[in-house]
Amino acid sequence: MSIQFDNVSFAYTAGSPLLNNLAFDTVPGECLLIVGHNGAGKSTILKLLNGIMKPNSGRVVVFGKDTARSHTAELARDVSVTFQNPGDQIFARTVFDEARFGPRALNRKNPDALARAALALCGLTRSEGKHPYDLSAPERKLLTVASAVASGARVLAFDEPSVTLSQPERRTLEHALRTLRSEGRTLIIVSHDLGFFVPMADRILVLQSASPALLFPAPKAATHENVLRRAGVRFPYADRLVRIVRRSGRIRHSHRPPPSEP
């Protein structure tokens, strides 16, 4: 298996544990969606993945390597973690140089080819020579996705990859992520965007502040709607309307008005 969280506990301040004996592992080609309130530990899990944070107890194992005993730059060969703000990492003068940085830093064999393939996957081939800050904000976000893909890491973790993307870019991201999964890459996504990621994910990990984390198959998301709502995530409004109508459609006679807060 690619990633293994083995009874991981973590707390920023002693006494208020963020993660409590969290245990799960991922299978190559799987897409895991992580949801939860801000501060429930979502981005902490990403930082535990590549050794930026070390667990207080338990182990995080990446392809057999214990993250507590390896350097982040070294773990980056296997797990690429991309954070929410493109401005944190974009430094190059052209889109191509930015995408090429990962494979070169990890001295992959053919960095330029990896970069070009990743840019093509993210629909940025046309903008190869442009300056990253001449792109639109959503295109810069896709550039960070392309940089992660180009790094060649087998596990790609993203923090809110669909935020600031409008529909054309969402289509590109969806296509890119599905292709990556078909190539056997493991995807770990932290996001509020249920509408976009539930159809794509295999499993959903719900982090809850009071009670232990919940892990269930994505197709069952509809039945866990109240758990998801408590975790501060909702399905798009139109989907909820559709579900209400379907439910009311089935109830022929007792014509109940929709719940106050659909």
Partner: protein
């Protein structure tokens, strides 16, 4: 005291650009109503808001523009050449950028706007207190800004704009950086402005349009593709599937016409749609 907005065949091109950011845009937004402008990146949503707010005219004096923009009774041809605050309040995407960075706590931050408008001490203190109460920030008045959550920061930034009681309030992608609960709270808050402010907001998605807006405008490549009630957006959603995350809308409109659902439910359903 809210103002109507009337935009007539407005065209704008940024200096040095080879394409119109907005071409022949005509919109009528009633005073006190709420209008949602939807569309993909580059459709010209932000450009339109900045045109109405006067930022475009102030920052790009030599840009090519024609048509005209009317706010209330004042006609600007082709666009306002200076920032129209406090007649028009424009709220930028990132709430943390909206916070001035010059004041330490909540009430001073909101007071900053009134200081710029040279409002006297007593009146300013009073208006700030009322504005904080209205947005449920009363007890946070002396709280340092560094201790606020993202949602609270955005409400303080909103208070900083609303304290000048702008007849027109423009919000650029307000839902973008918020989680579901904060989005719901913001939309409920904006709904209370109906009649008092003319609210225009932009959105990549469709939730704001479905839940809040009286009118919806769909922009693509600087042109208006649709302008009308949200229900109309649902029925024509197939057209916009490439522009808006409207696939769930398509399922919704499919149900509206679905014969298999018995007529009372279908009537009930259209009522929901009508109430959007």
């Amino acid at each position: 005291m809210a103002d109507s907005i009337s935009i007539k065949s407005f065209t704008f091109r940024y200096p040095g650009s080879h394409r119109n950011a907005l071409s022949e845009v005509s919109l009528e937004i009633q005073a006190g109503s709420c209008c949602a402008i939807l569309g993909p990146t580059g459709a010209g949503k932000t450009t339109l808001l900045q045109a109405v707010a006067g930022v475009l005219g102030a920052h790009h004096a030599q840009a090519a523009a024609n048509g005209h923009i009317q706010i209330g009774s004042v006609v600007h041809s082709p666009l306002p050449r200076s920032i129209l605050f406090p007649r028009v309040g424009l709220f930028l995407q990132d709430p943390t950028v909206q916070i001035s960075g010059i004041r330490d706590n909540v009430e001073d931050e909101v007071r900053f706007t009134l200081d710029n408008l040279r409002v006297g001490d007593e009146e300013a203190v009073q208006r700030v207190r009322i504005q904080l109460e209205e947005l449920g920030l009363g007890m946070l008045a002396t709280r340092p800004l560094s201790q606020l959550s993202g949602g609270e920061l955005q409400r303080v930034a909103l208070a900083g704009m609303l304290v000048a009681s702008p007849p027109v309030l423009l919000l650029d992608e307000p839902l973008n950086s918020l989680d579901a609960t904060a989005q719901a709270r913001l939309l409920r808050l904006l709904a209370t402005f109906r009649g008092r402010h003319t609210v225009v907001l932009t959105d990549y998605g469709i939730d704001a349009a479905l839940r809040l807006a009286d009118r919806v405008v769909v922009l693509s490549e600087g042109r208006v593709l649709y302008q009308g009630a949200p229900a109309g957006l649902v029925s024509r959603s197939e057209e916009f599937v490439d522009l808006l995350p409207a696939d769930s809308l398509v399922r919704l409109s499919g149900l509206a016409g679905d014969e298999r659902i018995p007529s009372p439910e279908r009537r009930f359903f259209r009522k929901i749609l009508g109430a959007l």
